[in-house]
Amino acid sequence: MEQFRKGLVFILAGWSGYFVMAIELLSGRILAPNFGSSIYVWGGVITVFMLALSVGYLLGGHLSVHAPSLRRLGYLMLGAAVATLPVVFWGEPLLDRIFEFAHDPRYGSLLASSVLFFLPTAISGTVSPYSIRLLVKQLHVSGKSAGSLYFVSTFGSAVGTICTSFYLVLWFEINQIFIGMIAVSVLIGLVAVLLGGLHDKK
């Protein structure tokens, strides 16, 4: 059981890495109709994702101090999924609104990516440090646990990047990819919540 729980933590971290990079890649696509694909649009996107992740790491670390559990990690994953929904349902009208008043596409794209992607990315960022807390049992192997976790989550990011840019955009519409990924997040998040809940009761 313990092995299974550990595996699940890695799955959550790996999927979170996939999720963030796939969204980052598609965000350029989502912004292009309003702000173009100039170098500064990508600059704005990457800035917002990095900022959001940095805040997420900080927050995840803090959260992990009080009663860390697999169940709560599951909630974080569910939270990131829910926070992504507005991109699918209100993305277009929101971008049109911002286009109305943002005359400089640099700040337009910066604002747009903040509004749409900051929250889901920041929540996704909490997953890694929180997972490390769940994995670490002894001080002397804490670096090893952190290393394995970085490996899995960054590997997930690599997989998310190549799958999305090479194949998924050829097979699906952007919103279909988003809904598919949100569904996977909800599924994995629910499994963690349920399994974590069982464990807590014991």
């Binding site: 696509r29 309003n34 702000f35 173009g36 694909s37 100039s38 170098i39 699906f172 952007i174």
Partner: protein, 295 residues
């Protein structure tokens, strides 16, 4: 001795490689924000290339006669005038060496020509090496084509002629080949406004592109050589008789451009024949570069 020969051959090869192409003179070679821009002269032509030595030529002028159009596609783009012979307001997306705006400027000294170019370095090179001039009623806007079109639409700008020439041979800005973009372009066209688009002629993208244009404009003409030029008029295609009539009027004025009706009219045909279930490219689904890579 043999080894020395090999070394000599290698060194010679490297030297040649540096001179790029025997006989060519390099005038300019610089990395811009988006690409490497190379300007060189060879065999009486001055050309702009993207990439280092392997890229294809973007733009060329003949040094002894700047007015002459060198590339087939630029000549085919001029056939747009057969559909609307007096454009007062012209929009060109993609500057390159400025071949199209320069040619149109000579034909219509009083018309307003707006050119959108994303890369400031390309705009600079066009002025410095290709006799392009953005003065008076020729204006260059250094920004993304889609953003310009959206903004122009909001400001209720109208154009009698729009030319799309933003694709190079290996990269398509995907947000400029979607149904939504073409709807925005249609919104910019005057009642009998004409759209001319320089596109590809041989890849899996061809049918997707046809279906997408058709979904916005209905029937359209195409001229195919190594590129495909798509030509259409808002509110329906003009009859062939009207086109032939206009073509006659342009015969003398097209002569300096080194083209004319004998060359352009036989190429003109209504596009057809793509499968009925071809997917339309949209802002949600636009893998144009992936499709273009598939033959």
């Amino acid at each position: 001795m043999i080894r020395n020969k090999w070394v000599a051959a290698l060194v010679a090869g490297m030297l040649l490689g540096n001179a790029a192409w025997a006989g060519a003179t390099e005038l300019y070679n610089k990395k811009s924000l988006y690409r490497n821009i190379l300007v060189y002269e060879d065999d009486g032509l001055r050309c702009m290339k993207f990439g280092r030595t392997t890229g294809s030529r973007q733009s060329c002028i003949q040094l002894s006669d700047h007015d002459k159009l060198i590339f087939n596609y630029t000549k085919m783009m001029m056939a747009a005038l057969y559909l609307n012979p007096e454009p007062k307001h012209i929009l060109i997306v993609g500057l390159g060496g400025g071949t199209l705006p320069s040619a149109l400027r000579k034909l219509f000294p009083a018309s307003q020509i707006d050119v959108v170019e994303i890369d400031p370095a390309v705009a600079e090179v066009a002025q410095r090496f290709f006799y392009f001039s953005s003065t008076g009623n020729t204006k260059v806007f250094e920004e993304d084509g889609r953003v310009f079109v959206k903004r122009a639409l909001k400001q209720k700008a109208k154009y009698d002629l729009v030319m799309l020439d933003a694709f190079d041979h290996e990269y398509i800005p995907e947000h400029m080949l979607t149904k939504e973009f073409l709807l925005e372009v249609r919104g910019l066209l005057t009642e009998k406004g004409v759209l001319a688009a320089n596109t590809f002629s041989s890849s899996r993208l061809y049918d997707y592109e046809s279906a997408t244009y058709y979904s916005v404009f209905g029937d359209f003409y195409r001229l195919n050589k190594n590129n495909r030029v798509i030509l259409l008029r808002k509110g329906g295609l003009p009859a062939m008789s009207e086109i032939v009539g206009n073509a006659k009027k342009f015969e003398d004025r097209f002569r300096p451009l080194d083209t004319g009706k004998h060359e352009l009219l036989p190429l003109l045909a209504v596009e057809s024949g793509w499968p009925a279930d071809t997917k339309i490219l949209t802002d949600q689904y636009s893998p144009s570069n992936l499709l273009n890579a598939q033959r």
